[in-house]
Subunit: 412 residues, 2 copies
């Protein structure tokens, strides 16, 4: 294995670019450990500094996170013509000039990868392009714009008007000062054009994707829909029926038991349907500097990792780690004690928990055949909870071994 | 490009093996189109027919879907020693003998791939092994056994006892005649051992995964939990804290807003957490012949596809397809008409819909500033719904343009 660094030229140094540079530095050692080469950034181009030609000369791979059509297009074409692999997070460029870009990539036999252009940290491009490349996909439905999903979630949960929810999104950094691309559906249209192209193995240009955004959506319709039990989501859809395709973006009511109905806030999710896979859903953060940068690094690994037979086989992949004892894990717990119906039982159960510093959140007593005391604890050390359960089991009123089940919290 | 077929030896011809053989035949042309080589099965080994040595001699890649430790282990080792790439769906083998198998794969520089061993059509192995190879993962929580999730869903939805729900699962083909591996948690333990190993870059052996199944679970606890608002799920967890790891399987109450709470029936889902990705969730069918065979084909593509720079760049990837007009798409619709408060309005709206053969499922009239007639239709042709809305807009009582939003159905 070579120990020469893998040189990466970085075009763009905004939110994603700077997060990428920081992450790459943080993980270069790890990547070197199982790949043999540490990636390093050999040059950065911003609006005010850096020279493209010089960066290109020194780099083996170009990462483009500058956005916009030009000069991004020109730079990527030049890089590929020079035989360099490229990774881009630029959805507008890919959805408008994909055919040209892929043609040049093919001609020069270089990688053109773009996971970060579609759904941030949600690896749907890779799934479609690799694992499912030979699997017919019939339909795609996605929430692929985090800004609008945040706004819609906010309209329901806080009863905000569209304008107020947009303002809140801007305050929190989920929407840009000029939110046009997001709220009109243009951003989602570019993304579904890319997804439809890969999934259906055909060129779907962003210009042919009809889109309606949420900028014209009235709070009253969100409220009427909620009263009927339906959330409103901005859905990007593409389907293929009998050799014909269609792709579009529009606000939809979503049936409450649909997996996309429960995708809240700035998250993205994509559902793929096809006979062989039935339905596969991927969900995760759709934006954010570090999340998007993670997708860029995934693409970079795909490029530098192709010389071998997979990372798992590299000597350096595995390392020795210690073991964590179960007793030290913490979570809330569900406890059920089956007890005789006599005075003072609950007090003794509570005391046994208190003796182990286990704090009680909720108690319900069920009477039927035998009395069941059901307790939900606050987050507690598992060892302490089990010790308390054993102590209760030894008391004379206990009829059977206590039931102890952990609670998986939302934050877990 | 060579036009020689890519020869695959198949070990095992049960549910997955026969589905794989059928799918591969169906898709061989498609794979040849963008890869240049059509995969063909050159030999099948079952308990009663086929000769391993002969199959190995003729094959470039071995697919092992026979299950069990021996002779599967012996065959895979022999195949890799002979320089053949291998794809396996055998979780027990991988989780118990992974170190040995990966050592031999490394030594002979061959692929050893096993997506189908973990979560069927849910591509979590590929995600961890490739896209996220350099991304620190802190926690994994998964529902990785479809049989037990079906049984638990059934206990809640139908109030079945464990035994009755198991019987139902067996009737529907979701549980085997001997369900021990599934219901005791042993199957999930093997899978989380594999996932933890890849995610944390360390060897986690299945023997060190403590597991509790659902075979000892009392319906009364499922009911008490439901009364508190929590579903009970068999959760496979692994976490890494300060350089120490732990992996386990146990029934847990799941907080109702946790993404795993809404994974129903025989589905699998895996949630990955880490600083850079926050939370990424993958969900899909965890078992089934065709679903699992799809994962095997994905692995096969990873092996035969590595000579180029990705399928997207292959000439044959893209094809021409027709376009589907929006007007012909069908779904239920939400309609809102803002109208004057006068007699006969609802009748005229209903008539306009009837004129277009649009059938009404639900009508709600809201009075406030102006009267809102909100209608949910049954599934209808979009063109007809929009024509009806235009007809209503032209009536004298209409105060503003009708609002038309599609409803995304659960089955979409």
């Amino acid at each position: 294995m070579s120990s020469e660094p893998f040189k990466v030229g970085l075009l763009g140094h905004g939110t994603v670019g700077s997060a990428f540079a920081a992450l790459l530095a943080e993980r270069a050692g790890e990547i070197e450990r199982f790949n043999g080469r540490a990636p390093v950034i050999c040059g950065v181009l911003t609006r005010t500094r850096g020279d493209f030609e010089e960066i290109l000369d020194g780099a083996e791979l170009i990462v483009e996170v500058m956005g916009g059509i030009e000069p991004a297009r020109e730079y990527l074409l030049a890089a590929m013509c020079a035989g360099k692999d490229v990774v881009s997070a630029n959805k507008q460029l890919l959805s408008q000039h994909g055919e040209e870009l892929f043609g040049v990539a093919r001609e020069h036999d270089v990688h053109l990868r773009f996971e970060a252009a579609v759904a941030g940290a949600v690896p749907v491009v890779r799934l479609l392009e690799e694992s499912l490349a030979a699997t017919p996909i019939e339909r795609i439905h996605g929430i692929v714009n985090g800004t609008t999903n945040f706004i819609l979630t906010r309209m329901v949960s806080a009863g905000d008007s569209y304008a107020a929810a947009l303002h809140e999104a801007q305050e929190r950094g989920y929407a840009e000062a000029d939110p046009t691309e997001d709220v009109t559906g243009a951003d989602a249209a570019a993304k579904i054009a890319i997804l439809a192209s890969i999934a259906f193995h055909t060129r779907v240009h962003t210009d042919e994707v009809a889109y309606v955004g949420i900028d014209g959506l009235d709070l009253v319709d969100v409220e009427h829909a909620a009263a009927l039990g339906y959330p409103v989501k901005l859905i990007a859809s593409a389907m293929q029926v009998d050799g014909a395709v269609v792709a579009r973006v529009h606000p939809c009511l979503v049936e409450p038991d649909h997996p996309l109905a429960s995708v809240h806030g700035a998250f993205n999710a994509v559902m793929l349907r096809g006979r062989s896979i039935r339905e596969v859903i991927l969900e995760g953060p759709g934006a954010g500097g570090e999340e998007t940068a993670t997708a860029v690094i995934g693409d970079l690994l795909a490029v530098i990792g192709t010389s071998g037979t997979g990372f798992l086989q590299h000597d350096g992949y595995y390392r020795e780690l210690g073991r964590l004892p179960h007793a030290e894990l913490r979570s809330p717990f569900y406890l059920r004690f089956e007890v005789d119906d006599e005075p003072g039982v609950l007090a003794q159960v509570a005391q046994a928990l208190a003796d182990q510093q286990v704090s009680v959140a909720q108690v319900v007593q069920h009477s039927g055949e035998g009395v069941h005391i059901v307790i939900l604890t606050h987050s507690a050390r598992e060892g302490s909870v089990r010790a308390a359960a054993v102590a209760v089991a030894e008391l004379s009123f206990s009829r059977s071994a206590p039931v102890v089940l952990p609670v998986l919290e939302r934050s877990e």
